[in-house]
Symmetry: C2
Subunit: 203 residues, 2 copies
Amino acid sequence: MRSDVPITSLQRLPVYLNYLKTLGGGVTYVSSGAIARALGMGEVLVRKDLAYTSAQGRTRVGYLLSELIAALEEFLGCNDKKNAAIVGAGGLGSALLAYGGFVNYGIELVAAFDNDAKKIGTKIAGKPVLDAAEIESGITSHAVTLAVICVPAKHAQDVADRLVACGVKSILNFAPVLLRVPEHCVVRNIDVAANLAVLCSMA
Amino acid sequence: MRSDVPITSLQRLPVYLNYLKTLGGGVTYVSSGAIARALGMGEVLVRKDLAYTSAQGRTRVGYLLSELIAALEEFLGCNDKKNAAIVGAGGLGSALLAYGGFVNYGIELVAAFDNDAKKIGTKIAGKPVLDAAEIESGITSHAVTLAVICVPAKHAQDVADRLVACGVKSILNFAPVLLRVPEHCVVRNIDVAANLAVLCSMA
């Protein structure tokens, strides 16, 4: 329930966390100015973003690095274990199953769903591939609250509706279609090709 | 050179385009109100975004569908062929090589680069995998202006620096690290795990 925090600030918090984790063992304190310079951002913005967490900066020295990392991890729920599933075990879905980065945020990928008989019952990167016809029972039995949609565009809304109906509240969507979900759910659409096209329009 | 158009508007243009393309052959005109309702957005916002393109709405009936699609495609450069390369032909890189959606935006993936001797010289989804040690000559000979970075975080900035040095202006970065590029370049960082974590914080 972070509806009081702007989405743009929320999206920067993992960036700070990633950066702070790269700082070597010799660093004890880090200032908002140093973070701002390292990331090419404004110092006021950094301080404002970090103020949403429980971290307390100290005059002159800044934040105690370990405390700031802990505050960001707590805010981002890195210590709360959450189960996620991937729907669509094609190239992208399989790549995400093999990607280890989710665990840093307390997210465990517990299963994938696919409708390809050749894939159902196998494992990809150690995760079971379940029958997409059984999304409802799989989501419930694995206590999944997050999902990543990697199915073709024409199936994405149907998949989203089924996920939402069985309690999934957060969806990351890679299908190139804008998904509609009820207000109590959140969805983020990542259209890789469109992102690249927009970058071209900007350069 | 679209520095006059807000990035948030730019990012919505592919969403409109995708939606308009799903409209059946029976539709000749489409109004900003109909688009807004279909996508769950405000009508004023839709009209403002579309005004950045050359499309002209007509009183009462709205936009001629074919004209609006053409205007969006022109604005997004879908008809200008651009060569792109992927650096890092692991799971995610390979999945993107096989993904057909880039062609809709005039983007052709011409090659991948990797440092794995077992991959160099092979093809993935019909695209040659070149030696990452030869990024500079490969980028130049294939006239690549866009790149997608799918290498591990610790190599990403080095790869970005090399791409920029040989003329790449737009970079889509999937490595979980914030890349720094010169001002004449644009980079978009997509950290999949962080995106999912942020969604959890919002739900």
